[in-house]
Subunit: 440 residues, 2 copies
Amino acid sequence: MKTTALPGFRDFYPDDLALRSHIFATWRSVAGRYGFEEYDGPPLEPLDLYTGKSGDEIVGQLYNFTDKGDREVALRPEMTPTLARMVAARANGLRKPIRWFSIPQLFRYERQQRGRLREHFQLNCDLIGEPGPLGDAEIIALAIDVMRAFGLTAKDVRVRLSDRRVLVSLLQKYEQFQGERVRIGFDAIDKMERLSRQETVRRLEEAFFGPQEIDHLFRVSQLRTLPAVLDELESCPNGPAVGRTFAAVVNALGDMGLAEFVDVDLSIVRGLLYYTGTVFELFDAGRTLRAICGGGRYDNLLLAFGGVDLPAIGFGMGDVVLAELLKERGLGPTATAGLDVFVAAVTADDLPHVLALAHELRDAGLRVEYALSVVPLRKQLDLAAARRARYAVVVGPDERARGEVVLRDFEEKEKAKAQRAVARDAVAAEIVGLAGQAAS
Amino acid sequence: MKTTALPGFRDFYPDDLALRSHIFATWRSVAGRYGFEEYDGPPLEPLDLYTGKSGDEIVGQLYNFTDKGDREVALRPEMTPTLARMVAARANGLRKPIRWFSIPQLFRYERQQRGRLREHFQLNCDLIGEPGPLGDAEIIALAIDVMRAFGLTAKDVRVRLSDRRVLVSLLQKYEQFQGERVRIGFDAIDKMERLSRQETVRRLEEAFFGPQEIDHLFRVSQLRTLPAVLDELESCPNGPAVGRTFAAVVNALGDMGLAEFVDVDLSIVRGLLYYTGTVFELFDAGRTLRAICGGGRYDNLLLAFGGVDLPAIGFGMGDVVLAELLKERGLGPTATAGLDVFVAAVTADDLPHVLALAHELRDAGLRVEYALSVVPLRKQLDLAAARRARYAVVVGPDERARGEVVLRDFEEKEKAKAQRAVARDAVAAEIVGLAGQAAS
């Protein structure tokens, strides 16, 4: 029998799952602080949810098939179409702005490359129904605060912030940048980091861009400060207005005390066609990894997808790059929790008493184990150590006669405290008290 | 565009997700108390993981397809094959007994019936490497304690407990019950509740069972107490030995204080071929719903699946029947949490201060919102109420000049306490303190 998962799919053994749980718990905690509520949809959806608007090119990257009821279906490659479908179905009953998050597992059939996965988990946060710049700042602040909650600082991670409205205005300074040519310009900017300048120039020339336009495109994409962007916008169509909105986003993040995380960076466009305004990506400061998170405003998507005209902004943050960064910085969870208590029996006659006490300790909320067969005390205490138990409770005939048990604290150095007799009926409260002290 | 999920698949809006989260959190908490560690595997697996041992009949119920790399794959219909694969891959490095749990989403293509889903979530708990009856009792106690953690009592839910070794011994009292005929006998017992006595008799006669054998089968399946079973076993092949094991399971559950939940019931066999010993199901006491949970011992499965010879016992508990029962008994989660604090601005000039304060409150771990555009104070407080905020903090120019804010407690009846000025820099600590008091 095969003992491996499909290529590109992960098994999560308990240690791996502990890191994943740490990531999910942090995501949920920070989203909750922003008043976001969790939702989820099916991992299998009708295929046309993905092909309807984006066309058929996407099918090459989907896990799609015909089900036994002759339906064309696909494993979800992204969450936004499901979100649009769900919001559209109940648009009138939902109070705006809608603050929703989800942690879906997503699937893409990509040609296998080293380390490239075909599934990942992704935090999706979306704010729907608010068109203004404070909505944008709210979403970006949430992404930054997730980083901070993991212990990452502005020295570790950076937000690269841009706005497509700003780029459109700047490019339209020259009238050649209209309609389809804006799209080609965006595409060139989006790929600049991965291509040589020479190759970018070649592609733009092929699309009949002249030397002046090409220079302008490069210059715009290299703007890196808010004053420089605002200055440049002065002379552009609709420039001052889009500049005010862009500045409002940057300044709101400053008011929140998050300015040090944010770099204005007009080379950020984002690949997806549907973004309409603010766009941003979150990277490790050294840029040795792929993007940790990307998002932006997509004010027309819900209308196109679900027939509901609501502005929206959101981001997706995957678990894979984030986990790499956390491991690299030693910011994973502390070792998976060991047991609180191991209950041991001195003789076989003590076993029923062990069962009763173990169950009582579990009812008190403690993590408890005991040997599941009759083995010598020595072996039981070995198992307690292997399970990293903090305490052992030993039940023996002599102690039972006195209504007592022996409580052993594996972390206590002082001998008198490390092992002592405790009244049988007081031991649960005693350990809960000690565990409470240790936790606080 | 379609605004519905595929038939048999669920959308989880925030209220639905809150119930799901409550179920998952309770599952995790109780499994943790038993020292169980969480794992997970891929939702998509090689098809032969499911057909290899069970044959091709199962394919009719699978979501299976050929992927773009020409691999035969299937959405997981159950977790045990993945568990077997994962344990087999690292069998030597894992300390026994292995105590693992998982909460996979599982998929079955079933012909659509009213209310029948094609996906569900299932708590899977497995104890691997322990052959004795205390392992069986441990797993059954875990299932019962999950029920208790939800607030369900022995009046609400019942464990129906049997053992295939006991049934084999009882049936083999007559020599006719050997090999294939035992399997036919099991199948008849398994279906007795759904079929008329007449139909069961007809089927057994068709398989050449005589009147005496048929009577014996009915009588055995109607045994309902441990003494009756032990008495009956006295005269059966290997009877006293299997009786001791069965009694040890029942008695261990008694030692844990869980006897009131357990009904010995030899009509329980479980459909799956791979069970080898103890089998049990958990039902609502009135038996108006399908089984909440089912499990048993499968000592040969890991060898067959993964080539590793380890005894094992486990159960699966789905979210659907459980959720129905919890709703029916009013044991769902308390209303989804509202906000802790809504921060409101009196004038547009106060907005930067609102942003700073809101962020500070969020850093203190509070759930915080504020209006994302400039609206009158009245409307902001309406939004605060709609979001079920416990507190509002109002930031105005006069208060700011004095270094203060107004703190309003929506649940305080006493007027002087319901609204009062608080030093701006003390408000976060003040609310954290109040929230802490309210929680304790």
